[in-house]
Symmetry: C2
Subunit: 406 residues, 2 copies
């Protein structure tokens, strides 16, 4: 085992359970005598380069447990994606502080960062063990059954649509909400998990795994509205036309791109507004409302899956165990072993980094606007215990005969 | 006591606890032998005119209890505001079905409906007892300490901003979210209840009780951003300029008005997008994100104040007691009697109907962009038990000395 300090950092978009992974890594690493101190880098790789470290060994276990239950990244995050020069600066700092273990909790982009750091360390002969700990609400990491952060975000989306469906039933019309997920529709598909009765919404679900056609969309909405007198729609922010051009981008006057070359889809509501306006004008329906679920999906406090908390915690613990007892750098992955149970494996960084997983066809109904029972079976155990349930008054058996109206 | 049927209906925007009031009224009324049957009208007054009734006497108590815990209006709602002719149709139906008691659960507009119905009944000599049961997330009914539905919506807003603040801390920039509340800023002000540390957001709160000036706004945001390196902003959908013109209306190309003459402020995100775009261009800040909390504020399932549930239930129960043992029609009001305890009074309908309560000056800080401790004391007990709390890593005492950086 390498002897030295252990450094943990958090990258990319925060989740409701990313602190569980951080705390899992910190507390597990305290069991190993070769780990001298446990540092946390503030704001991801940026904090390494800037030497902004917290000595987490000086934190109380009690406060760490409280932080673990708090959403968002307690160490701060970054969108920086290190190139070779950036990596060399990272090594300089790691060497100066005697860091032997580097754990980076993050999604696609962060796993690629870990891969570059790992490869550069080997090339320079710097003795460093690097482990990527998965997190992403998009659920788009390959080789994982699912990724920590997704179940809690999915729970939020399911609860949001359960309520929105009830609201839309009370005051009928068309309700549309845009859900996060750039390339993968898992989070948008989660909107269906609050459905109980056959006429419950969302009645239509639009995923980035299927091409979006405005005419088809209008026809779907019209049919649903005529059938139920109302329509609830879930739309992924990443929907695109058959040429692959995102519908959101088609409209956005200003295309803001982040350092990874990703188009900014969240934090703007143009997609919801365009789609509701299209429905209003083309279908002549008066009550059309649109929401963009926005940052609440990943940061709302008090809506978390206990299964997600547990797994995020374990992923952090396993990262330490792999680092101490294993011979390789890698990415912690979650494997489903029962209904419901999981185990963990360490995958090669290159097998995970920079790859995007999307929804398999078996999860998407042939209509292209609904999900399958296979997806329901996949997602339900992840949402955790005490999911709120919606109840109705029984209307058919208890309706009162009319006296005046014939 | 009048002998006959009891009819309950729900009007206006749904809330998380409006079904508690309905179920409270239904179950309490079953204790009175002069109440022959308990009917529920579907979709408010519209359901009365259309004779769409459910016989709630045939519901199981168990299912009623489950419905009570379900958000949104289980009987459906309406935006209809009856005029004289509409009221005459209502009487025709009530008379035909032998209804002696009419309970309408709703906000400002619904209380005015109850007033018209009550006055018309007296003018026509129709023996009818009508009671208005309060609900509104806007908290804008006069003569009430607060109104059922507001505490749960306030809890949602507080939890949303607690999370948004953590997210914004992790990935700094400007975050702005628009909160419901046409004339009253109570719900927007609730955004401050998740603040724990002096640098926590929301750093700026814009209420409809104060005139909104774009230049002043930009200067506030600039100062905050320079001080904290980030800025979280809560904005009421009802903010307006000094001439009283809503900022949202200034921008909206299409002004959709409902039957009450109210401008449609929710279900569109133009206000958030305009304000974030203004910040981005005028202050040259790159990361500016805007959300509109939208319908989740009133319909999200699984985020409810137990205090709110209890009071909504009691308001429904008290309505029955006032109707049976009292001599007057009226509106149930909530009075605060301790810290924290409430009691109920029946107020004359004319004293409540159509009037709007806004935030008193003592709840708004002199800066105009923050709330006072008086408001914090007012709101905190309403949010209920088990409010989620946010924890931080201790950074000052545990920061690691830099080695390379001087």
């Amino acid at each position: 085992m390498l002897k030295g300090k252990l450094l943990v950092a958090q990258g990319g978009g925060p989740t409701a359970v990313i602190n569980q992974s951080m705390v899992g890594a910190v507390l597990e690493s305290r069991k190993f005598l070769n780990v001298e101190l446990v540092y946390g880098a503030l704001n991801g790789v940026r904090g390494i380069v800037d030497e902004n470290f917290l000595d987490l060994t000086r934190e109380t276990t009690h406060n760490l447990e409280m932080v673990a239950q708090t959403p968002s990244s307690a160490l701060g995050s970054t969108r920086d994606k290190p190139d070779l020069k950036y990596c060399q600066e990272i090594f300089k700092v790691l060497r100066a502080h005697g860091v032997a273990y580097f754990f980076y909790i993050g999604g696609n982009d962060s796993s690629d960062t870990v891969r570059i750091v790992s490869e550069e360390a080997q090339r320079e002969g710097y003795p460093l063990r690097t482990i990527h700990i998965p997190k992403t609400i998009d659920n788009d990491l390959v080789l994982n059954d699912h990724t920590p952060g997704f179940p809690s975000a999915a729970r939020f989306v399911a609860q949001a649509f359960t309520g929105a469906n009830l609201d839309n039933w009370a005051l009928p019309g068309v309700y549309l909400a845009v859900v996060m997920g750039r390339h993968a529709g898992f989070l948008t598909a989660a909107s269906a998990l609050g459905k109980k009765f056959p006429d419950d919404g969302p009645h239509l679900i639009y995923l980035p795994e299927r091409d979006f056609d405005v005419d088809r969309f209008l026809s779907d909405v019209k049919d649903t509205y005529e059938r139920f007198g109302r329509c609830v729609i879930a739309v992924s922010e990443g929907i695109h036309d058959s040429s692959g051009v995102p519908i959101a981008v088609k409209l956005a006057k200003v295309q803001e791109r982040d350092a990874h070359g990703n188009v900014q889809l969240s934090g703007t509501s143009s997609l919801a507004d365009l789609l509701t306006e299209t429905i209003r004008t083309k279908l002549n329906i008066k009550r059309v409302r649109g929401d963009t679920l926005g940052y609440l999906q990943r940061s709302f406090i008090g809506c978390v899956s206990d299964v997600d908390q547990r797994e995020a915690r374990e992923a952090g613990e396993k990262a330490v165990q792999y680092a101490m007892w294993g011979e390789n750098d890698g990415s912690v992955t979650i494997q489903r072993t029962g209904f419901y149970s999981v185990d963990y494996k360490l995958a090669p960084l290159a097998a995970v980094a920079g790859k995007t997983r999307t929804m398999p066809d078996e999860f998407i109904a042939s209509s292209g606007t609904d999900i399958t029972d296979a997806f329901r079976m996949y997602l339900r155990p992840l949402l955790g215990s005490r999911m709120p349930d919606a109840y109705r008054l029984r209307s058919e058996s208890n309706s009162v005969p009319k006296i005046l109206t014939k």
